[in-house]
Amino acid sequence: MSALPTNYLTPTGREETWRFTPLKRIAGLHDPATSVADRISISLVGANRPGFKVETSPANELPPKSATDDAVTQRIRASVSKVTHLVIEKESVIQEPIFLKRSAGSEKEFSRTVITAGAHSKATVVVENEGSATIGEEIEIRVDSGANLTFISLQEWSANSVHLGRHHAIVGRDASFNSITITVGGSLVRLLPTVEYSDQGGSAELLGLYFATGGQHLEHRVHVEHGIPNGKSRVTYKGILAGAEARTIWIGDVFIRGNAEGTDTYELNKNLLLTDGARADSVPNLEIETGQIVGAGHASTTGRFDDEQLFYLMSRGIAMADARRLVIRGFFGEIVSKIGIESVEERLMTRIDNQLAKVGE
């Protein structure tokens, strides 16, 4: 256990970035007065294979490469003594996905992970979060020039978990970062999927899916920082809410700075409300400081079932309940099917089906 210095401000809940988050429910992870365990909670499933390895480094030997004003991330950085480092060697093409599994303890804990995708490498990394935890974590993903990394983060927590996380990608020259963030479990999950570009020609695709049932607070604050010319980003997040007090927040900050000419970006958030009493906030925010761009757009929809879709399906003999199920599964399936790992896709769809059955869908 370590008590922490307080050289940064503790959120009060009035800040723009914290105004949606019920601070009472985050177990003091934002508060320097809370003591937090310093242990490694993430590990490789199976052994190192040719082309990549997981190692543990002293934190001072692997300092962060990105700046953040997130108070929890700052606390994490100040507090952890060791960092888990997944190194994908340059030019190696790893066919089978690399699974990292979280096994959290019963204490409150912090975790820092760095993933380095070496130049011209190609790999898929899956981070699986299950069980009970109260955790603050940062994953910094360095996608070096010409590399192609798919990063899949699965939040399949049990009902009491609290998870605050920053997943930050630094996309290098002509590199591709494809991420899929799935959040279906946990009492309170607040994730910061963020992207910056370190050189020209980088491309990022951020896909996300969240499903909140009664009492869950699921918050995703996407931030794409186009500070370099000729970057591309595509953001698509979809959410379903069902049950009293189901709560989701989606923020999509995309900034195109004055020098980021040739930027091409589009962000989309769609929420489907299945019942009364659920609430989805969706705040796309596109700021453009140069006119010399390829394209920039955003869209956000939050609504009930599309009557036209249900009518179409039912007009072919499909009963109302089955039509609803098809539409919901289709809504999820659009994102889940992008994972491309059959066992994971099936597990998620089964979990979603079970959650739907509980809310009477």
Binding site: L313, M314, S315, A319, R329, G330, F332
Partner: protein, 250 residues
């Protein structure tokens, strides 16, 4: 033999100022094996008639009746109408993202047949029906109607009709947006189902060109929310030549 009977049907849509009437007393009877062409100006209520029979929730039936072989269609839910043997090929088919055509067709067939079709024969059945409509088998894996061209959507409607084998079909401008070849292919599809099922057809169209492939037994002129004239195939030619001016009050 099946018989769809529409009697004195009045239908409206809810607007801020109450119910706006669109259909003003439609009478029409369609028997198995008959083709009834319905032609009329834009906005006259043709699609409203089609949707009302299929049970679209947007429309309110204010009076009149629709029966299929004596059963009250207006009392049925939308899926029950399909199960009773009604099919609507829509003017604007709806996109359903994330639901594959294969999954959709199988779910619909399961619902209509009361049991899941046998996998082996079903896959062949779908392939066969697709190839007859000159549809690429790759459509099976695509989301329902999503990104389909206008003509592809219409073929997909007729594909469903072939597989679901209704008794009475309403084709709402199925010919619009089809090129010459597609028009022929789609018309042949309709005629196949007609021959196999002794299908009764309500064919809503603006053009006589489809009537050269699908021969109407009756032509009805639709204006101002009702049928204002009836005749044989020759009436269609007259409409194409002269337009609807004589039926639309200034």
């Amino acid at each position: 033999m099946s018989k769809l009977v529409i009697k004195n049907l009045h239908v409206g849509v809810e607007t801020e100022s109450g119910i706006t009437e669109i259909l003003r007393g439609v009478d029409l009877t369609i028997n198995s094996g008959e083709v009834h062409a319905i032609m009329g100006p834009n906005g006259s209520g043709k699609s409203t008639l089609a949707y009302s029979i299929a049970g679209h929730p947007k429309y309110t039936i204010t009076s009149g009746s629709v029966t299929l072989d004596g059963a009250d269609v207006l009392e049925m839910s939308v899926d029950e109408r399909a199960k009773a043997g009604l099919f609507l090929a829509m003017q604007y088919p709806v996109e359903v993202p994330g639901v594959s055509v294969a999954n959709f067709l199988r779910t619909a067939a399961t619902a209509l047949r009361g049991e899941a079709p046998k996998v082996r024969t079903w896959v062949g059945e779908v392939k066969d029906a697709m190839s007859k409509l000159a549809m690429d088998p790759a459509f099976s894996e695509r989301s329902v109607n999503e990104g389909f061209s206008g003509g592809e959507k219409k073929r997909h409607e007729i594909l469903q009709m072939e597989l679901l084998k209704p008794k009475i079909a309403i084709l709402d401008e199925t010919d619009s947006g089809l090129d010459v070849d597609a028009l022929r292919i789609v018309s042949e599809g309709v005629n196949r189902v007609k021959a196999e099922q002794n299908l009764g057809i309500m064919l809503i169209t603006h053009y006589t060109r489809i009537l050269r492939y699908i021969k109407p037994d009756f032509v009805h002129v639709f204006a101002g929310g009702k049928i204002v004239e009836e005749g044989g195939p020759e009436l269609a030619d007259r409409l194409e030549e002269k337009g609807y001016a004589e039926y639309v009050k200034a």
